[in-house]
């Protein structure tokens, strides 16, 4: 008999209590939206990704295996969905013949305003966006609110040591990108 509140909420939802899904969303949705936003750089796309994740949860709630925690499950779904969307966006851009430098979708107005207000953050964001998918995700998970290396490693399905070494690699790459900007 599990006492994990997320699992209990999922069970209640699969028995027909919609409010249980609301409670589950209250616990995780903000973090999931933030991660999707960080990966996609667009609030609408982030909403789409998280909405699709909830659809998947609704369809599969009754069959949740409990092989991982609910939180890990939700993050995996969102990350996979974001990776799919990024891949689709790259294909579209490649077909449209856009140059390498134009690959990233412009940030929405609010985000841009905030970024302009904080030049340092904008530089960091720009440098992160030039990293590989794997490096970006490791960085996002590492500096995401409420996330630990252990949970991050579980989400990616790798040992904690591997997670840490990948984080190190990502930070080295980030330092190079930022260094290149600051000291050209």
């Amino acid at each position: 008999m599990t006492t994990d509140p997320d699992v209990l909420l999922l069970k209640r939802f699969s028995r027909g209590e919609d409010a249980a899904l609301g409670e589950l969303a209250l616990r995780h949705e903000r973090g999931l939206l933030g991660l999707a936003m960080g990966m996609l750089g667009d609030s609408d796309l982030a909403r789409d990704a998280v909405q699709e994740m909830w659809v998947r949860v609704i369809r599969s709630a009754a069959h949740f295996q409990g092989q991982s925690s609910v939180k890990t499950w939700l993050y995996r779904i969102v990350i996979n969905r974001c990776l799919d969307m990024r891949a689709a966006r790259r294909r579209d851009m490649s077909q449209a013949g856009m140059a390498e430098g134009e690959r990233f979708t412009p940030l929405d107005i609010n985000t841009l305003e905030r970024a302009e207000a904080d030049e340092g953050r904008a530089r960091v964001r720009s440098a992160v966006q030039r990293l590989s998918d794997g490096q970006q995700i490791v960085l996002m998970l590492s500096y995401h609110d409420g996330m630990t290396h252990e949970i991050g490693a579980e989400v990616l399905g790798i040992p904690v040591g591997t997670f840490k070494s990948r984080l190190h690699g990502a930070l080295v790459a980030l330092r190079e990108r930022l260094g290149a900007e600051v000291l050209p």
Binding site: L33, H63, I79, Y143
Partner: protein, 378 residues
């Protein structure tokens, strides 16, 4: 390249506060939440909401009932198709003897005429007969069975039963008493009758006979003469064709030498003789098939008749006894049916079990996949 924002710490490379804050801000959501509400109303999710799975035992029971029903339907059909296949496709080994056609002496004579068709093989003859029947809309080689039955009765009044037995015949249908005798006296009085009744009415006639006394013994059987019927039909067909050919030759070779014409006549007369003999055999077989033979033996039974039930209690007791026996009979029939379905359809049960097992495993795997998510591939 050095950067004061990145330091080598105990845990490896560490970032300064502003970079860490920037990284944290990238994955921070400050907008509104509540996306889940839209997902609940999304069409893609609606078919999966509120889907309650039936208990496994209910599903299994329903599947078993459906399967048992299918087997119950399929087994008799398979039996029928096997029987019809045996009749419609007689083995070539069973038939060939009947396809001898023109005598050897006539064969050499006919060899001189180029218009005589090549010898027809027995197999071809059968196939041709089948296709002719098929094209004529006739059923494919109906089974021909000579039916025989023997029934032995005991009755206090042998003479009355003897007279009544003759009345079960329908003369309009060509039924008749082939033989009858009444011998002995009193307790040794015995009647014997051989009835020829229409094959389709055999069971009705037996039912009427059973009502005339206590049945001591009863046997029935049938002799399948389908092959003989087919053989004779095929031979007759061939002979008729040969006769037509010979008559055609006779007509076209009126100016042939006398010797050849005489030989031709001899051949025609032999073929005609064969045709007559086979027609007779065919008619005889047809009579035997159309009329079943029933041997009726009626013996005297002068023991005390069973007393009629007296009073409502006696009647009630008899009815209860009859109902009980009927119930037991029904139970026995049901058990026999279940055993025949279980044993007779063993192959189907095994196949069904394999299919169901495979489906269950596939479903479990699919559900397991749906309830988990693979780790992101980076």
């Amino acid at each position: 390249m050095s950067d004061e924002r990145f330091n080598e710490g105990g845990e490896g490379l560490e970032v300064s506060g502003d970079v860490a804050a920037a990284l944290g801000a990238m994955s921070r959501w400050e907008g509104e939440v509540g996306v889940w509400k839209a997902a609940v109303g999304a069409p893609a999710a609606s078919p999966f909401r509120r889907t309650r799975r039936l208990p496994t035992w209910v599903t299994a029971l329903a599947a078993m009932l459906v399967f048992a029903g299918l087997i119950g339907i399929m087994l008799p059909l398979l039996g029928k198709s096997r029987a019809s296949a045996r009749v419609a496709r007689p083995s070539s080994a069973a038939a060939p003897e009947v396809f001898k056609r023109v005598p050897a002496s006539d064969q050499s004579f006919l060899a001189g005429f180029s218009s005589v068709p090549a010898a027809v093989t027995p197999q071809r003859e059968l196939e041709q007969a089948s296709s002719e029947r098929s094209s004529a809309g006739m059923p494919l080689l109906q089974r021909s069975v000579i039916r025989k039955a023997t029934i032995e009765l005991k009755t206090p009044d042998v003479r009355a039963a003897f007279a009544k037995a003759a009345q079960v015949l329908s003369e309009a249908s060509g039924e008749y008493v082939q033989e009858s005798s009444l011998t002995g006296e009193d307790k040794s009085l015995q009647a014997t009758m051989t009835l020829r009744v229409e094959a389709s009415r055999l069971s009705a006639v037996l039912n009427q006979l059973r009502a005339m006394g206590a049945v001591v013994s009863e046997t029935s059987g049938g002799e399948d003469v389908t092959e003989q019927v087919v053989d004779i039909e095929a031979r007759l067909h061939n002979e008729q064709r040969v006769e037509a050919e010979l008559l055609g030759l006779m007509e076209s070779r009126k100016d042939a030498p006398l010797k050849e014409i005489l030989e031709l006549r001899d051949s025609i007369s032999r073929v005609r003789e064969n045709i007559e003999r086979m027609s007779g055999q065919q008619a005889k077989l047809s009579r035997l098939v159309s009329l079943a033979t029933v041997l009726v033996i009626i013996r005297s039974d002068l023991s005390e008749p069973e007393p009629l039930p007296q009073g409502i209690a006696d009647y009630f007791g008899k009815q209860v006894q009859r109902a009980w026996q009927g119930g037991l009979g029904f139970l026995a029939d049901s058990v026999a049916f279940i055993i025949s379905v279980v044993v007779g359809g063993l192959v189907f049960w095994l196949l069904g079990a394999v299919v169901v097992l495979g489906a269950v495993l596939a479903r479990k795997r699919a559900l397991a996949r749906r309830g988990t998510e693979t780790a992101p591939r980076l």
